[in-house]
């Protein structure tokens, strides 16, 4: 009988796992609250390497983790007055449209070069924000 819960077969299940789980969540939460994003990219490797999550499930699982955290962060940021509707609404619309397009493209394009270009662009943006 199949249940919705992943079986423990092949996964450690001891107190170290609990510590790793807490650590993963704590770091994801901190990054999400402090930077408003980027937590997912940290969580995925932690899920795979520390928590022995099946790599095919890591991205989806990361989403399950990041979603409530982002919602909470979003509420706090809005309460602190950082949210600007004039920016947020059009961006939100764009993100949904882009997300659909991106999911479609995912099945068509090789992601390797996209990631390479993306990494370079991110590095440049990072340097600019850090020093200028």
């Amino acid at each position: 009988m199949k249940s919705g819960i992943e079986t423990k077969k092949g996964q450690q299940n001891n107190s170290k796992t609990n510590v790793y789980a807490i650590l993963t969540g704590a770091i994801a939460g901190l990054i999400n609250g402090l930077f408003g994003g980027g937590g997912g990219m940290i969580v995925v490797p932690m899920l795979i390497f520390l928590l022995k999550c099946n790599p095919k499930k890591a991205h989806a699982t990361a989403l399950l983790i990041i979603l409530p955290l982002s919602a909470i962060s979003g509420i706090f940021y809005a309460a602190f007055g950082s949210f600007n509707i004039g920016v947020g609404v059009p961006v939100g619309i764009g993100v949904v449209a882009g997300g659909v397009l991106g999911a479609f493209l995912l099945s068509k394009l090789s992601t390797k070069w996209v990631i390479i270009i993306f990494s370079v662009v991110m590095a440049v943006a990072g340097v600019k924000m850090l020093f200028f």
Partner: protein
């Protein structure tokens, strides 16, 4: 007109996010560098604009049984606390410093991602 430019920024980051590549890390620099949006506002925009798409994506993932619930509460519950702490911390830091911190984080992330991808294809 400005409205459309913001939509465009969202589309760019949404495409990358839709490909599983962390759209937030594109949107925040994009808004901050090219649109002169303050760091806090850019971060807030990213958080909130991410939600609708994330809900839809998650529903699809759940349907496809791609989500692993092992230890999920051990992960999320501490995360909630550190997340709230992070929000207060961000508020306490001025926008310029937060921007630089984010930039450093982004740079580290990009190196990590690049190395990981290069290793994958070896």
């Amino acid at each position: 007109m400005e409205f459309l430019w913001y939509v465009f920024a969202g589309v760019l980051s949404g495409v990358l996010g839709g490909m599983g590549m962390g759209g937030g890390t594109v949107l925040i620099p994009l808004l901050n560098i090219f649109y002169s949006v303050s760091q806090h506002t850019a971060q807030a925009s990213n958080l909130i604009s991410f939600l609708p798409m994330a809900v839809v994506a998650l529903i699809i993932h759940l349907k496809n049984r791609l989500v692993d619930f092992n230890k999920i509460l051990f992960i999320i519950i501490p995360g909630v606390f550190t997340c709230i702490f992070g929000c207060y911390l961000a508020r306490a830091i001025n926008g310029e410093l937060l921007k630089r911190m984010f930039g450093g984080f982004l740079f580290l992330l990009s190196v990590f991602q690049f190395v990981t991808e290069m290793r994958k294809s070896k």
